[in-house]
């Protein structure tokens, strides 16, 4: 039997802009196996961000089904979604989105704090930072770190709760090519060694080429799966 960590059926998202309804996504169905790494590609306006928001439980679909790690999440309320995001989704953003005032360690601890984890919090955060090769810079603040290092802190923060999926939105978009390579290395390693299910949203065909599957979106619909 196949073990799907994500199962999406007929997903639609329609935005209401005043009187006008804009269909951002419609009739999208696919499954993702546990431990898979795949990328989502498509021109701007294709609905990739909308799909990512939906998969990351940041937003609810207008219609359709979405089962994440065994839990149907399409109809949950805001606080339930927050809890799902906390436990099952790890986000890595293009612009890192770290808290400037807090040390790397405190940034990585943040999801544990919102998850109500008090036991071993510092130890787990430290381990996550070690896993991305930042064990010696845990007390540095974001502005004392290079772009690549900041993104590694963000990856540690995404990992610390052992999520079901890692959602990376253009993770190398703000980095020079060398740091970008390193970050992709780390993500691919995590997938290989920890069987971390990973979804990368990207424009870059080189990055997409490193993932197992590529979902191509166009005009709010799945155009091809390669």
């Amino acid at each position: 039997m196949e073990d799907f960590v994500i199962s999406v059926k007929d997903l639609c998202k329609i935005y209401k802009m005043g009187e006008i309804e804009v269909t951002a996504l419609c009739g999208v169905s696919f499954e993702i196996q546990r431990g898979e790494i795949l990328s989502i590609m498509g021109p701007s306006g294709s609905g990739k961000s909308t799909l990512m928001n939906m998969l990351g439980c940041l937003d609810r679909p207008t219609s359709g089904e979405y089962i994440l790690d065994g839990e149907p999440v399409a109809k949950l309320n805001d606080d339930q979604l927050a809890s799902i995001r906390n436990r099952k989704v790890g986000f890595v953003f293009q612009s890192f989105n770290l808290l400037h005032r807090a040390s790397a360690l405190a940034n990585v601890e943040l999801p544990l704090r919102y998850g109500g984890v008090n036991h071993d919090r510092t130890k787990r955060a430290r381990e996550a930072l070690e896993a991305v090769g930042l064990g010696d810079r845990i007390h540095h603040r974001p502005f004392e770190l290079s772009g690549g290092e900041q993104q590694r802190v963000a990856i540690a923060r995404a990992l610390v709760n052992n999520p079901a999926i890692l959602m990376a939105d253009e993770p190398t978009g703000n980095l020079d090519s060398k740091s970008g390579k390193e970050i992709m290395e780390i993500i691919l390693n995590l997938n290989r060694e920890r069987k971390m299910t990973t979804i990368i949203v990207t424009h870059d065909p080189n990055i997409a080429a490193q993932t197992g599957r590529v979902l191509h979106l166009r005009d709010g619909a799945l155009e091809a799966v390669l």
């Binding site: 940041l58 937003d59 927050a82 809890s83 989105n97 704090r113 919102y114």
Partner: protein, 408 residues
């Protein structure tokens, strides 16, 4: 998240924008300081007046004529005979002592200096009833009182104004309305007060006053001072005095042509007046506290807008609405709490300075900043922070994560 972490994180956040946090706190500091100072000074003034009234003596009743009221028929002045009647223990068992008093304007001159005061003609028991004590010399003897002696006992204020000293004055001569009086005693200073100086005293024997202050109607008295036997009998004594005077003045149904005031009634009316002032001043100061609260709201709104992305990120990694709400409320409550604490200290200092200025100006006020006003100020300022922080915090908590993350 536990409270300690919340507070720590809020402090970090406030610390990251010191100038802005400082200015916001300043608004609350000024408000709280104003409230604390005003309440402290008001309470101090009230205490000072009450002390002064209490220092006039113990269990006293002041009987004065009260003409010109509606419903009076054939009003009569108070007389020496009235005073004698009040001292009758069979009719007024709750009255301990009675002293008739004659008052009159006194133009005092001595050693080339001139001073306007009020002369008071008294009997031998008056100094004890008013708690007067001597720094020098003695009070009038029975002979001096019956003999219409031209002698006087003066207050420290009169002594200082005429002689620039209170020492070595016994035997010196003061001219009251051109008549020479020999000083036989000088009173201890009791300090200034709200009704002008309580040391501005010029005492002469009752019989002498009948001649020099009241020669046209020597039997009339300006005031009768009555002392009740104890604090519990003041009301009874007051009733007895009223009954005796009504019968002597042949008042059956008409309004009294006199009034009987007790120290307690002075204290009550003085407290009512100072209380009104305190509430008024405190209210004006409270408005500045309100303005400070609006300042907090303003800054928190700016802060929420600035940190939209941060809020989006926090929500993306699992913060619930409540977490964000509490985070921002903690910040605004801390702002106002810090402001409140600094404000209390500053208000305390301001109250002290006002007290010193008032004392230097001749009105002794010891500001009283009570624990209750400190507690109220702390609670109230924190409540202001929470109240005015609620709207911005709610706004932050209600942000959609997708929108917030996209915010530039």
């Amino acid at each position: 998240m536990n409270l300690g972490q919340l507070i720590l994180e809020a402090l970090e956040s406030l610390n990251s924008n010191k100038l802005r946090s400082g200015l916001t706190i300043l608004g609350i500091v000024i408000g709280v300081a104003a409230v604390i100072a005003m309440l402290g000074v008001g309470q101090g003034a009230s205490n000072s007046i009450t002390n002064q009234i209490n220092s006039m003596g113990t269990n006293l009743l002041f009987v004065q004529r009260n003409f010109g009221q509606r419903g009076q028929t054939n009003p009569k002045p108070l007389t020496f005979a009235d005073a004698t009647a009040l001292a009758d223990p069979s009719q007024a068992p709750d009255v301990a002592q009675v002293s008739p008093v004659i008052n009159g304007n006194a133009n005092l001159t001595a050693a080339g200096a001139t001073y306007s005061s009020e002369a008071t003609g008294i009997n031998a028991n008056y100094p004890a009833m008013r708690n007067y004590t001597l720094s020098d010399g003695s009070f009038f003897t029975a002979n001096q009182i019956t003999g219409r002696s031209a002698v006087c006992v003066i207050g420290a204020g009169v002594a200082t104004n005429l002689f620039n000293t209170t020492n070595g004055l016994v035997g010196q001569v003061i001219r009251m309305n051109k008549v020479p009086f020999t000083i036989i005693g000088v009173l201890n200073s009791v300090g200034g007060g709200g009704f002008g100086s309580a040391d501005n005293i010029f005492l002469i024997p009752f019989t002498t006053a009948q001649v020099y202050l009241n020669s046209r109607n020597p039997q009339q008295v300006g005031q009768i001072l009555v002392q009740a036997t104890s604090a519990n009998t003041v009301t009874a004594a007051s009733d007895e005095v009223t009954a005796i005077l009504r019968s002597r003045h042949k008042i059956t149904t008409a309004t009294n042509d006199f009034n009987v005031l007790s120290q307690a009634s002075f204290v009550t009316s003085a407290t009512a007046i100072t209380g009104t002032f305190t509430i008024f001043l405190g209210g004006v100061a409270g408005i500045s506290l309100l303005v400070g609260g609006i300042g907090i709201m303003n800054i928190m709104l700016v802060s929420v807008t600035e940190r939209t992305r941060e809020i989006g990120l926090r929500k993306a990694i699992g913060a619930r609405k409540r977490d964000i709400l509490v985070q921002f409320l903690t910040e605004s409550a801390l702002l106002s709490l810090l402001g409140g604490l600094i404000g209390i200290a500053l208000g305390y200092i301001i109250a002290g300075v006002i007290g010193r200025i008032a004392t230097a100006a001749g009105t002794a006020i010891t500001p009283a900043v009570g624990i209750d006003s400190i507690l109220i100020a702390t609670l109230f300022s924190t409540a202001i922070g929470v109240f005015f922080g609620l709207y911005p915090a709610n706004r932050a908590a209600g942000l959609e994560p997708v929108e917030a993350l996209r915010y530039e």
